[in-house]
């Protein structure tokens, strides 16, 4: 069992967390001007990086989304931080 750290609740078991998405995706706006390809890119396309990754996770127990930096090969957690504007 791996321990992840929620920026709000502290260290908890990995099963309390859920992967959300790769970090850094900005919703393209304004919607009527966005091409299908750009929208599909936003919705579906990923880097699936090998090694260092920045990801959005949710701590299911408290419901907060946050940023976690991890190594996707070793699974080591590098940093966790609240989303901008959501700092505790």
């Amino acid at each position: 069992m791996q321990i992840f750290t929620c920026p709000f609740c502290g260290p908890r078991e990995e099963t309390e967390f859920h992967f959300g998405a790769e970090a850094g995706k900005a919703r393209p706006e304004p919607a009527p001007e966005i091409s299908d390809a750009a929208w599909a890119d936003y919705l579906y396309m990923n880097e699936a990086p090998r090694g260092r990754a920045r990801e959005i996770w949710v701590h299911l127990t408290c419901g907060e989304f946050f940023v976690m930096e991890r190594d996707t090969v070793t699974r080591e957690v590098l940093t966790v931080a609240a989303l901008p504007g959501r700092e505790a």
């Binding site: 069992m1 390809a37 990923n46 880097e47 699936a48 990754a53 990801e55 996707t72 090969v73």
Partner: protein, 416 residues
């Protein structure tokens, strides 16, 4: 083609097993090919074989960074079946199953296909309704499928926990008689041997590090054994495909997760079919050696590390023990994981990548072993003709922008 006839086995057996020849040539890469395939798993090797066999192409190479089948192909639990929901999926997976049915003869290599049938078991009335829906869909799509009653299921699998207090008492489920298992290594090795005999260069220990493009056209690959020119490049590298495709500016809808499997110590025959339980997500079969081969759902943490985490093990194994309490006495011999390429709609991506001459065969996720003959057949068709086969067209990368997803996970409620 050198063979493994009873006579050859006897002769070699009596002479100390000396003189066996390697099943495929260990090739060094040439400077240029008509077609290069990245990834020596089942899909890459089958692609090379069909390019040579069906399309008469000769200057073909398969580049594999490790050893053949050392990716997911050699790590999988070998269930083959075509009990899917959507017509597009059934067309794809049943093409694969039909090719599997003739594969040992086609390759002159025993892939040990054992069509022992598969039950997708339900334990609630709602699940039984879903099973009826899928079984009906299978029949509408001209594939053998039927709704099996609870009594028939227990007759087929007497060890199933039917105690009054059982958490997941089996009510029946979907039965596909043509489903079964095949030998994973044999599939990779059989395609490799047959392709090699047709002149395909199979290069192991060769990592592709970059894709070369000129004016929107792919012109070759960069490898740790030097530059290799190619008119067409096929990517069949499972979880490594997104990083490779990115070299040509192509983005893919793939996340990589570990998927684990487990093997128990060998026991006397006790399970002569493949069983997948909807309620627990755990599935299993018994190998010829008597080991139980057990699998389940994905780990929930995206990774490129080929090893699994404990929570997923707990889920799979506690599911197993709910279904078969006596298996609690068994010891596990081995546990391992592969890095699988998961797509949001749980359907593969097959088609042109974007840059001319670059083609994709990836996104098989947890269930691409059963599809190897079809994946190879379809990628070969694409690479030889430049256009889709009618069976691969729905699986084009373009389906994401067009909103034509083939959402099999939801449609068929499958784990792998």
């Amino acid at each position: 083609m050198h063979d493994y006839s009873a006579f050859a086995l006897l002769r070699r057996g009596l002479t100390g097993h000396r003189g066996w020849r390697p099943a495929w040539r260990k090739a060094r890469p040439k400077p240029a090919y008509d077609a290069v395939i990245v990834g020596g798993g089942g899909h890459g090797l089958a692609t090379a074989y069909y390019l040579a066999r069906r399309h008469g192409m000769r200057r073909i190479a398969v580049l594999e960074k490790g050893w053949l089948g050392g990716g997911n192909t050699g790590r999988n639990t070998t269930a083959v079946r075509s009990n899917y929901f959507y017509p597009e999926s059934v067309a794809l997976y049943d093409l694969a199953l039909r090719l599997y049915e003739g594969l040992s003869r086609e390759l002159n290599y025993n892939v040990m296909l054992s069509q022992r049938g598969m039950l997708i078991a339900a334990h609630t009335p709602a699940q039984m309704e879903i099973c009826a829906r899928i079984a009906n869909a299978m029949r509408l799509n001209s594939v053998d499928g039927e709704l099996m009653s609870g009594e028939a299921a227990v007759r087929r699998i007497p060890l199933l926990n039917q105690e009054a207090g059982a958490r997941y008492r089996c009510l029946g489920g979907i039965w596909q008689g043509r489903a079964g298992v095949a030998r994973h290594d044999a599939v990779a090795w059989g395609y490799a041997r047959a392709a090699s005999d047709l002149g395909v260069d199979i290069v192991e220990g060769c990592t592709v590090t970059d894709l070369l493009t000129e004016g929107g056209r792919v012109t070759g690959v960069e490898t740790d054994m030097g530059t290799i020119r190619a008119e067409r490049v096929g990517l069949a590298a499972a979880g490594a495909t997104p990083a490779l495709a990115a070299k040509a500016g192509v983005r893919l809808p793939i996340h990589t997760y570990a998927l684990q499997a487990f093997v128990s110590e060998p026991v006397k025959p006790c399970l002569d079919t493949v069983l997948l339980y909807l309620g627990t997500g755990t599935y299993l079969s018994q190998s010829d050696k008597g080991e139980l081969v057990i699998g389940g759902g994905l780990d929930r943490v995206p990774t490129h590390g080929q090893r699994g985490n404990l929570p997923a093990q707990e889920t799979v194994l506690s599911g197993l023990l709910e279904m078969f309490p006596p298996f609690g006495q068994l010891r596990l011999l081995r546990q391992w994981a592969g890095v699988v390429d998961v797509v949001p709609d749980s359907s593969p991506v097959i088609g042109p990548a974007g840059p001319e001459g670059l083609y994709l065969n990836c996104g098989w996720g947890t269930g691409g072993f059963k599809a190897i003959p079809a994946g190879g057949w379809l990628l070969a068709h694409l690479m030889a003709t430049g256009t889709h086969h009618e069976i691969s067209r729905p699986f084009d990368l373009g389906r994401f922008a067009e909103g034509r997803l083939i959402d099999e996970a939801a449609g068929a409620g499958i784990a792998h």
